[in-house]
Amino acid sequence: MGHSMKRKEDARFVHGKGKYTDDVQLPGMLYMDIVRSPYAYAKIKSIDASEALAIPGVLAVVTGKDLEQYNLHWMPTLMSDTQMVLPTDTVMYQAQEVAAIIATEKYIARDAREKVRVDYEVMKAVVDPYKALDEDAPVLRTDKEGKTDNHIWHWEVGQKEETEKIFNEAEVVVKEQMHIPRIHVASIETCGCVADYNKVENHLTMYMTTQAPHAIRTVIALVAGHVGITEEKVRVISPDIGGGFGGKVPVYPGYVIAIAASFLIGKPVKWIEDRSENLQADSFARDYHITAEMAGTKDGKILATRMKVLADHGYTDAAANPSKFPTGMFSIGTGSYDYPNAFMEADAVYTNKPPGGVAYRCSFRVTEAVHAIERITDRFALEIEKDPAQLRFDNFIKKDQFPYPSPTGWEYDSGDYEAGLKLAMKAVEYDKLREEQAEKRKKGELMGIGLSTFTEIVGAGPSKDFDILGIKMFDSAEIRVHPTGKAIARFGTKSQGQGHETTYAQIIAEELGIPAMDIQVEEGDTDTAPYGLGTYASRSTPTAGAAAAVAARKLRDKARKIAAYLLEVSEDDLEWEPGKFFVKGAPEKSKTIQEIVFASYTNHPQGMEAGFEATHYYDPPNLTFPSGAYICVVDIDKETFEIKVRRFVAIDDAGHIINPMVAQGQVHGGLTQGLAPAMYEELIYDDDGNILNGTFMDYLVPTAVESPNWETGHTVTPSPHHPIGAKGIGESPTVGAPPAIANAIVDALKPYGVTHMDIPITPYKIFKKLKDMGVLDKDIAEG
């Protein structure tokens, strides 16, 4: 623990020996390609596949009508809504799957895609989520009996009346309308699968890009059980994954069609989507329209907050949230500040856009919540002309207030927000920066400093509240130590680059004293790994990491018994140091863990179970609450409004850190994924529902040039309830960075009177904003 061990998995990756889904080649394998809708909303009048089927090598063209015969044309979403596998009559978004071609070769399948004639009757798409609620808006989900509007659900939490009263009486009230853009995880590996159905054995092996293989196996059994594919006949293998970030949690129609095709034809079927399909049809993230308000005193005490959300879910609610949380963990939006009253509400609507709402490197809508609270906090500071750092210090939940009950019902486990912000301010030399800024403002130069001091909520989650499709959100570890003292450990999670093969081995090494190099970690094969809910929402360390520690402790208890037997002393006379038990007061009388393990197979005490294995399913007693203090410094060119991130310091508190190098790597990556929506990325749709940037040519993933040199550090406030005091780190930076950047840019534009800008903030948006405000030519030099 706490050691920057080099990653065990890297050897295969740097040699090009990683094994990803598209690398799977099976004898007789067929290829699937998908015909997609060119329209956002249209009736399918007919599908004519005759020309496509005439191409040599094309074996089948699967349509919704074909699947309907097996009742496979619709499937459930994780949020108890329904989603089309293939449409029988209406397409609901551009790039939606319409038909699938199965062919002997990839190129032939692609050729055939252009020969499937689909006759559409185009309808006027509903694109704007606010207009979707208009009384005269067409009802999109006509498949739902009795549905008379496009409203999906309403959700609320907090103290409505008290909050309203405070707002009515408060000295200061600030309010901003914010949009958290529709973005895409854009992992460099797209999604895909190889479905291999063996007719003779009625067995399906599914190689696929999934972050949650066990849950997927259950879903497959639920969807296809009625045609004989029951859970014991399904093996899901999630090989190496080229980045997941939440985008590989959902069940996409392509997977189901591939299974259906393999089932019907009896041969393996490979489906790998291309980049434009990935961006245009796979689950989006975010797309929350938030009205955020804060009430406080003139001298800077926060009294209450109010947030109202309109969530654009696309044509179905296929968000990846725990069942009881339609807005995920959005209610963390009271942030790191101590005030007793808050009220939040949200409404979700259907539009003619792709479904989704995945937790993109974020614990279920935390990013949206953090953006709202951190932005409105800065807005409040601006209103009362108080330094935003001081305002935060004045309102932080203090270290000794933990466990802290939040007004929206959470119990924050631990934190030291002051320490984090102090360290970040020291690192950037905050006071000096403010002096420099004052000088620059005299000259009319644009420099901004932005803060974000956020609290995350991760590690879903305790079984009393958290489930997905009814399955509780525990996670698992199984450790088997071989007679020679080497081990294999298997988990219900699935790394997509997080380095589990190294960090889990380190946890077990710490608890059991077996060198991490001697512990092989395996995940992703449902035939061998214990059941778990998978890797997303920063839950692996808080759940499976904890399971590893507890399972290792079970083994250590067994080791103690065996050591006592071998050393012929009482268990109470033994003391543990990593790697061995020794007799108190006689350290030369000891047994190493390897000797003990060997004995468990060769010379175990009578009456004791032989072998050295343990499994644990960990049900966390609470969530963990990592926090961070981020400071961003930007310079903006006054002529071109080009934004340059000069410095970015990120101080995270994720409790005890298992591997500082891996944790830091997670922070670096997360920060660039926070920079992306803050300044570059957004999926843009026109009024007809056409996506305008559905390729990597115009969906701007930051390169090494846009990405600054990140400066990172940490404070350590262990989680009191986690077996090793860890909290989870993978997502904090993606959550915390956007408001720090937005706050810095808005701060830079203060001389113009700008109070808010929606992300992504681009030079053009600044130009337009200033032009619309009529201040483009304002002389801002104070000197």
Partner: protein, 176 residues
Amino acid sequence: MEATITKNFTLEEPIDKVWASLSNPMEISSCVPGATITEKIDDNNYKGEVTLKFGPVKAKYDGVITIDEMDDASHKMTLKGKGLDSKGKGNAEMTMNGLAKEEEGNTNVDFQMVVNIQGTLAQFGSRLINDVSAKLMDQFVDNFNALLKGDEFNNDLKAGSMVGTAVKGIFKKKEA
């Protein structure tokens, strides 16, 4: 995605000659870049193909052109075109209003064209449609001039140059 393109040009030819060609669907279509009339259904309806290219995406529309108005006295015309991409990428609709006027022995022609493209092409086309369409219109005028003069011309789609011009157009705007 809808775009409106207007074009006003003067031809050094008498109006009767210009109108004769302009009102003849076979002749006028031969001047439209990338367009071919493949079949006459009746006097007012024709079947044809139009190829368009926006950056990386090429679409070939199979469609029907309908003459809504053709007034030989006032030299006014309205054409409607409706097409479907032959590879399933979407559809396009076009309404063109034309008016020819005599101007000191020459002929002034005023065109207004409203194009509505739906489907995949609209993803790529929205930023290019105005520039590409303007270029197409220029090419059409050149071709039409050549036709009247009896010069040889061809109405192949000058794809490369169109995209080039469109890109230049974008940069020109930035400079301005």
